[in-house]
């Protein structure tokens, strides 16, 4: 007898196996259409709102506490730093974090602005989507608007490349504008001077490696200084001279403990104690020869990346040579760069090794620490900025701020176009974009309009953060900008409108352009999404 427990195939099934429509794994989540769009809008706007309050000269800082051991604390208002430290689950938010990181890598500043602008673009887009405008139409409008905004800004750029004095003052202004929203704003003139000096020494190279930033707690921020030479955070070996004039420096990367035999499979095998002594003596002799060879280069300073053992150190001391051990790799590279010497690892051909030179080497004290100071170096490009400050947190934030300023300046030296700041560029762009919206037929014009509103949101937020009446100020600003060639922007310090040219508030064109383009790109990317598929999270043993 054969029994079939299945229902007969002919019987109509009211629901056609709904659970089989689920094709994904159990924990995977699939969100579609409106829900997906809402999830990504909400995520992106949440991120933008998070960093919004740090925007502008009166922006506030955030405390970030790490979950790692020690619960170390960072106080910052640098957008990229804040976003980098967040653990985010929302994919759209991750896109924003990513653009702020790229902005940091590419131009170094504007990391908050780019996220805020992208957030505002999405906020406007959400309204349009609710009005039943297709995301693709919005994207088309945004693209046109972004192009138009860029061109509007391009026409208003100033370029003082040929006039050195003016260019320097441009740089000063940019540096002060950048620094004014950071912890260094109290001493912004001082630090702007520092940064501009440092960058101008680079002579157009964007290689910020030759600007060394040393942080030493103690003193006040004002005690920070720019040193024309090079400071190595190392100690001089015992019994060696503490001061050398007209130094010939050999920069090396070589083992000064015991040279290992590099031939594969070699080992030492001895059959008596005396032989051990012999080998030891030979080893010592080898080291002595090596040191002699090094001394044979006619040097009076030797800097090595690796350790120097006591024995060679003693030999150097005997020869009156200053020997520094364990200078890290960056220190070595920088030192080689600034003194113009080679990094050497073999010492058989003294004639072909280029030695580094400097006028004076001396030991200096900063706070409690002893450092080695190389001054009068052959290459004028490098310099060291020593930051002083009350605590590690202050110093860290100061370094980040200074780094931003240096990045912007070095980019500006290459692309010398400059624009005003203080909400001026946004108003210029938004005016042109408004014009475009009026000329454009079709639904796209709504999107172009929205782009203009998003641009205006930036000065609004700056004013709000400063506790000003933003609605009043922005409308006044817009009226001012209706005139041709207005240079008016928001002056947060006085709390009203001001002539940006007179106040010397400037920004680099390259930074602003990057902000507009990458924010649009990111908004576009998020708008195009209509489905989010989240895979089941990989299981971890310890989820802390």
């Amino acid at each position: 007898e054969l029994r079939d427990r299945d229902p007969p195939a002919s019987r109509p099934d009211p629901s056609p196996v709904p659970e089989m429509e689920r094709v994904l794994k159990d924990d995977a989540i699939q969100e579609k259409g409106e829900r997906a769009r809402m999830a990504s809008f909400v995520g992106a706007m949440a991120i933008a709102d998070l960093v919004k309050s740090t925007l502008g000269p009166k922006g506030m800082d955030k405390i970030l506490q790490s979950t790692g051991r020690g619960r170390s604390v960072t106080v910052t208002n640098d957008g990229a730093t804040i976003l980098k430290s967040l653990h985010i689950d929302n994919p759209a938010a991750k896109v924003l974090v990513d653009i702020s990181k790229v902005q940091d890598d590419e131009v170094g500043d504007g990391t908050t602005s780019v996220v805020v602008l992208a957030g505002e673009l999405l906020r406007e887009a959400e309204k349009l989507v609710n009005m039943k405008i297709h995301p693709m139409t919005i994207i088309a409008g945004y693209r046109m608007a972004a192009e138009c905004a860029r061109n509007a800004l391009l026409q208003k750029t100033m370029d003082n490349k040929d006039n050195t004095d003016k260019f320097r003052s441009d740089l000063m202004n940019i540096a002060m504008t950048t620094l004014s929203s950071k912890i260094l704003s109290q001493d912004k003139e001082y630090f702007a001077e520092l940064a501009v000096d440092a960058v101008l020494r680079l002579k157009g190279s964007t290689n910020l490696e030759s600007i060394q930033i040393l942080k030493k707690p103690g003193g006040s921020l004002k005690d920070s200084f720019l040193d024309e030479g090079f400071i190595l955070d190392k100690k001089i070996g015992l019994g060696q001279p503490k001061r050398i004039e007209n130094a010939n420096i050999l920069v090396a990367n070589t083992a000064m403990d015991t040279d290992k035999v590099k031939i594969y499979g070699a080992r030492v095998r001895v059959d008596s104690m005396s032989k051990v002594a012999d080998i030891e003596a030979a080893e010592k002799q080898k080291m002595r020869e090596k040191v002699e060879k090094i001394i044979g280069h006619g040097i009076n300073c030797f800097v090595n990346r690796q350790l120097i053992y006591n024995f060679p150190e003693e030999l150097f001391a005997d020869a009156g040579i200053l020997a520094v051990e364990h200078a890290d790799f960056e220190g070595i590279e920088r030192l080689a760069l600034v003194t113009g010497g080679d990094i050497a690892s073999t010492f058989d051909n003294p004639e072909s090794v280029k030695l580094g030179h400097c006028k004076l080497i001396e030991e200096i004290m900063i706070g409690e620490d002893r450092l080695i100071h190389f001054s009068g170096v052959a290459m004028g490009q490098a310099c060291t900025i020593v930051l002083r400050g009350a605590s590690e947190h202050v110093l860290d934030e100061a370094e980040r701020s200074l780094h931003d300023a240096l990045c912007v300046l070095s980019q500006t030296v290459n692309d010398t176009r400059v624009i005003f700041g203080g909400g001026w560029p946004e108003m210029v762009m938004s005016k042109e974009v408004d014009e475009l919206a009026r000329r454009t037929p079709g639904k796209k014009s709504h999107a172009i309009d929205a782009f203009s509103r998003a641009l205006q949101a930036i000065p609004t937020i700056i004013a709000d953060n400063a506790g000003l009446d933003s609605a009043e100020l922005i409308s006044q600003l817009r009226a001012e900008h209706h005139k041709e060639n207005s240079t008016v922007g928001i002056d947060v310090i006085s709390g009203g409108l001001g002539d940006m040219q007179k106040r010397g508030i400037c920004e680099a064109f390259k930074v602003k352009q990057a902000i507009v383009l990458s924010a649009t790109e990111a908004a576009e990317m998020i708008l195009r999404v209509d489905e989010i598929i989240t895979c089941a999270p990989r299981r971890r043993e310890d989820r802390m």
Partner: protein, 535 residues
């Protein structure tokens, strides 16, 4: 659950632990399979066409991918259902074979399954449906051949190729600069193409991306870009007319394969050992210098000493270059990969007009570009973009465009896009259906309806009323006897795809129809699904 009992009423065990397995049979199995297939297709449906939307995919580790490339979406979708896995395979094989149309093939498949479901409900045997589909796909296949056109292109006139690549790129997020990217893709393919043999080795095209800059900064480098820098920071950053030694041996004393021990037991031996060691380094560098190399590219690392010697003898070097890149460099520069220093001879060196280091942005990122190579048969497409996801998506898009260009060089027949080919096939299949007697006729007709699914999805994604648009275009095709009318997705104002310059490759389209039919046939033949139930 099927249970058989013997004479004494004891059950035969047919399936081990059958209680813990769920089982579907007959029409239910068919319906379940069809539903799963349709669910996958529905996910991809909105990504079709120039106005298609993207999907965010979050991997188990939380990494985010944003794409509208069908193969990529399905690959990362964490699919559990067996039938859905078949669809993933389907899109993957389209990707391997053609490289483009991975979304279209899945949508077509879903559409075919949907039609098959209706026929199943009418009680037509699945095998008859499958056979009908098979016949219909032949008709469509031949019809595509019939409506395809050939176009001639030469190395000088690349316009037709560029147009086709633009069609591919227009559905991606990079469509902002599709013209430029299409040109880059075509130039890259032509640079490595063997026009006589009509073949292209896409391995010779390297696609590299670096975050930062604009998409417009994307460039084609006639040479190789390697994500490495010089081994010693003070080596020259720019070398003209370089003679390149490509080595796979480290600058270290040799390590014989046989195990050995060198015993040092006297001071003399210790000293000879030292001398020997120095000689090794010296000879290695000298050997490179002797054959006239001005740049050394090595797969392995260098000892500090060797590094310095190289620097001192003014011989720039790059270390830790990956195997694939090494091969590309060898191909591009016409050099030979040398495994031992003894075998280094002048004729094994590669030539390059210019080797330079390129740096980006404010970070320390650097790349080494080897340009103006002796054999310009290897190129690099270097993508820039606002963020990581953009670059990844641009890479995928470029890959699609490269595949299309390659397919065109292999076979320069094209069909017009915008759904026109599908509509035309649908008309042809519909007309042919009446000639077949039996249940297959129904299946063939359903096939024709399924083909309409693609233009329908296109119209829907573009915000057009789907049925109105499709019927209008279809009647236009028949009235004007013009198989080139399609859906006007970009609102250009004309239906004629010849005027819009929207092409697709013939083989791509044919492959889509064949693959989709095959998978549907496979799914239809399943009548029993046994799954172990969850714990």
């Amino acid at each position: 659950m099927a249970l058989a009992f013997d004479d004494f009423g004891r059950p035969f065990i047919i399936l081990r632990e059958q209680e813990s397995k769920s089982r579907l049979r007959g029409l239910d199995a068919h319906k379940a399979n069809v539903a799963a297939g349709k669910a996958v297709a529905r996910s991809l449906r909105t990504s079709l066409g120039p106005k298609g939307m993207d999907k965010i995919l979050q991997s188990p580790d939380g990494d985010v991918t944003i794409t509208n490339d069908g193969a990529t979406i399905l690959e990362q979708m964490d699919v559990d259902n067996q039938i859905a896995k078949l669809m993933v395979e389907l899109s993957r094989s389209q990707d391997y074979e053609i490289g483009d149309g991975t979304t279209g093939v899945v949508v077509l498949d879903g559409s075919l399954l949907e039609q098959a479901e209706k026929l199943l409900e009418r009680g037509i045997h699945p095998i008859r449906i499958a056979e009908g589909y098979e016949m219909a796909s032949k008709i469509a296949f031949d019809h595509l051949e019939h409506i395809s056109t050939r176009f001639e292109f030469t190395a000088a006139n690349i316009e037709p190729l560029v147009q086709t690549c633009m069609t591919t790129l227009s559905s991606k997020i990079v469509n902002r600069c599709k013209r430029m990217l299409a040109e880059i893709a075509v130039r890259a393919v032509l640079a490595v193409a063997d026009l006589e043999r009509k073949d292209v080795n896409l391995d010779l095209i390297k696609v590299e991306g670096k975050v930062g800059g604009k998409l417009e900064d994307t460039e084609l480098i006639y040479g190789i870009a390697v994500d490495k820098d010089m081994s010693h920071p003070q080596m020259p950053k720019r070398i003209e007319d370089a003679n390149i030694a490509i080595l796979t041996c480290p600058f270290e004393p040799p390590k014989p394969k046989t195990k050995h021990k060198v015993d040092i037991d006297t001071v003399e031996k210790f000293q000879t050992m030292r001398g020997q060691e120095q000689k090794y380094f010296d000879e290695m560098v000298q050997k490179c210098k002797d054959v006239g190399a001005t740049l050394v590219i090595c797969q392995w690392g260098f000892d500090d000493e060797a590094n310095h010697l190289l620097m001192q003898r003014n011989l720039p070097a790059v270390r830790w270059v990956g195997g694939v890149e090494l091969e590309l460099i060898a191909i591009a520069t016409g050099g030979r990969i040398v495994p031992r220093f003894q075998e280094l001879t002048p004729d094994k060196l590669g030539q390059a007009g210019l080797v330079r280091e390129k740096s980006f942005g404010t970070t320390k990122d650097r790349m080494l570009c080897i340009e103006r190579c002796a054999n310009a048969r290897a190129v690099t497409i270097f993508i820039r973009g606002g963020n990581k996801m953009m670059i990844e998506e641009a890479k995928r898009s470029i890959h699609d465009a490269l595949c299309v260009a390659r397919n065109l060089i292999r076979n320069n027949s094209i069909v017009y896009g915008g759904g026109s080919a599908e509509i035309s096939c649908s008309v042809a299949v519909e007309a042919a259906a009446d000639r077949y007697a039996g249940a297959e006729q129904y299946a063939i007709r359903s096939f024709a309806d399924a083909l309409d699914g693609i233009p329908l999805a296109l119209a829907e994604n573009s915000g057009l009323p789907p049925i109105d648009t499709l019927t209008a275009v279809k009647s236009q095709q028949i009235q004007e006897n013009n198989p080139y009318c399609g859906i006007d997705c970009n609102d250009v104002g004309t239906n004629d795809m010849r005027e819009q310059h929207v092409f697709e490759t013939l083989i791509g389209k044919q492959q889509q129809i064949l693959l989709a039919t095959q998978v549907v046939k496979m799914i239809l033949k399943i009548d029993d699904v046994i799954t172990p139930s969850e714990f």
